[in-house]
């Protein structure tokens, strides 16, 4: 009897969260899934028409969708790889008791606090054909013509990746730094006494001890990568000629430039599935680590 009463009380306490989840997450997600089978320009709900799998067929045979998907994978792979490399080695450096380590920690972390919009505008100005970087390159006589960091569809995505790594390396560094604080100093000391060199200490002591942090950091980066929008939108709007289009910018284009809410919903569903997949892997790996 008391147990049932407690269950009711527990339910009452959870009710606000359940309602919030239903109204702001579940219903929109269900609506999005339903829209993937519909044609709608986004103006009048009464004009929604059922079209079956047409949106899926159209998108999966669309070369721009394929390009967006490939670019998203490139973005996720490279940002995850380099964010973790820079984050880990940055954490190792600031963990040393050396002069300037604290300054370095703050300096590397500072861009994390800025909005990706500001970062995007700043990098766009620096990297345009007449920006500071091209001026330096030309002053050093490396090339006569400016390098089109954002103006070429072949390299724009990589430029955005560099800007993203610059911004978020500090975040990964801080996660690794926190992880490093959890490794007992005696363990490292014992390894040194036993004759382990720095390389062995990193690869045989530190990295295995950091595996829960590595798992979480990797998966946070992967999920963040799949959802990337703002910095790409500000730096190139997905251009030139879709050269740096990622799933989220193509979703925006389908929804608000082409007024194709059905196709936009399919892309949204792709992002949800990819992120959910990464989240499930994360849960499994974390559980195994625990």
């Amino acid at each position: 009897m008391l147990n049932r009463q407690l269950q009711k009380i527990g339910f009452l306490f959870s009710l606000p969260s359940i309602l919030f989840f239903l109204v702001f997450i579940s219903i929109p997600v269900i609506f999005t899934i339903a829209l993937t089978f519909a044609s709608w320009q986004g103006y009048d709900i009464l004009q929604i028409k059922f079209v079956g799998f047409k949106n899926y067929i159209d998108l999966f045979t669309d070369r721009i969708m394929l390009k967006s998907f490939i670019n998203t994978l490139i973005f996720v792979t490279l940002t995850t790889l380099f964010l973790n490399i820079f984050g880990f080695f940055g954490a190792l450096i600031i963990d040393q008791k050396i002069a300037g380590a604290r300054f370095l920690k703050n300096a590397i972390f500072l861009p994390v606090l800025l909005s990706p919009i500001i970062i995007g505008i700043m990098w766009s100005r620096m990297l345009d054909a007449f920006g500071i970087l091209n001026k330096i390159i030309q002053a050093l006589n490396i090339t006569k013509l400016p390098i089109l960091f954002l103006g070429s569809s072949k390299i724009a995505i990589y430029t955005i990746i560099i800007a993203t790594i610059w911004q978020f390396a500090g975040y990964d560094m801080l996660l690794y730094y926190a992880g490093l604080q959890g490794i007992p100093a005696e363990l490292l000391e014992a390894a040194r006494i036993d004759g382990a060199n720095e390389r062995n200490i990193i690869f045989r002591i530190i990295l295995p001890n950091l595996s829960p942090v590595i798992t979480i950091t990797l998966l946070l980066n992967i999920i963040g990568g799949f959802k990337v929008f703002d910095i790409v939108f500000v730096m190139t709007t997905g251009g030139p000629n879709h050269g740096s289009e990622v799933l989220a910018t193509y979703l925006f284009q389908q929804a608000f430039r082409l007024n194709n809410m059905g196709a936009a919903s399919v892309i949204a569903l792709c992002i949800i599935v990819l992120s959910l997949g990464a989240a499930i892997i994360r849960l499994r790996l974390t559980r195994e680590n625990i």
Binding site: L12, Y43, D44, S153, N241, H242, G243, F256
Partner: protein, 450 residues
Amino acid sequence: MEVKLKKNLLNSLVVVVCLVVVMGLLLAGCKTTTTATETTAAATTAEATTVAETTAAAETTAAAESITLEFWSWNNEGAYPKVHEDAEKRFMAKYPNVTIKRDYISYADYMVKLKASLAGGQAPDIFQIPWAGEYTEIARSGKIEPMTEYLKKDFPTFFENVMKAISVDGDAWAIPLDLNTLQIAYNVTKFKELGIEIPKSQDELIALAATLKGKGLFGIAQGTKDLWTGGDSFFAEVAYTDPTHTKMAAADAGTIGWDDAVFVDAINAVVKLIKGGVYAPGANSMEAFVGAEDLFVQQKSAMFYPVGNFVTGGVTEKVAGAFEYSLFPTPPLKAGDEALPTGGVAEMFVVSKDSKNIDMAVEFLRFLTNDDGKTILAANDFIPSSDYKGDTSNFSPLYKNMLDAQSKSQSRVVYNTKVYQAILNGMQGIFGQELSPEDFIKSIVEAAKG
């Protein structure tokens, strides 16, 4: 332990229930206060109504009720807000009970917010609408009021090409405020200094670019990162490759294909200019009115495209005292042919069907476009969308140039959203020299198929 936990939970529940009761009481208090205020207000209104009835029987019904009209635009740059504000002042002088709530939303967010508000039945009473792409779709959405009948009463007679541009399925859906023309701005001082004349053909333009390069200057500064500017380079060429000036509308309507020779010739002409070194490098990484404009203002480029009254105000201010500039249309393909600028409707507004004050919203649009409205437009270098009969003797040569260009301007509008976006994105590929003219045409044909 378990008993203690249960006891704590029960205590917490009691606290929550008490809080809910207290909040309920507070809200009830507020409600009581509101009701009291409403009662007082109702009494005051009743008194006021009696006074009004006895002292001012001639007052109109409209004047008696307080109305707020929501007005949305993305043009808060340049002198457009001055034009809107002026109409608002004149309108509110006649209808003091009406308040215009003007909101300027950046273009990047505009369509997102507009769509959400339209779908939710919460659209502003009056809102600006894009001239291409979305226009037809919004007109057919059933969410805006057709203007055909209203246009018959107290609106100026808009130019014929303007009426064509705002008509969809036999009805006019928007009220056009002003027009723009897109031309090439050139540094008159530098041209004189170097003894250069305005090119009479595109071959001369290529030769001119080579001369400028020899003097350490770029030709045309153009920022295609903004997408739409690249599209205008294509439309400028179509104005010449299609002497009938009908094929773009025909292709848009699906009666001819986008692989028609006039479009192939047009894109080849653009490619010839690019390969001929006419443009400053890095078009795709420059915004039109930041990077490209800077190149022109800083005299690194002798020309700047596309320029119309939407930007001349800012450019004139920035170059004041440094150099003189003027405008010429993209030169024709052959010397001797007439030079044709492109252009069309600039700002246009529609009235939401969900508006509770459709008549007043339309009335405000009358104030925007009437003779007083045209005077303030002209005073700010904007070209009214109907004949301007005011004094033109004090107008600047630049404004006269744009007025003259307007009378010859050719269409730059494609209503099929997919085709329009394919042209804009494809032009980035063309400017980056990463897309062939054949693939450009192919991408438009594909987009047209839907």
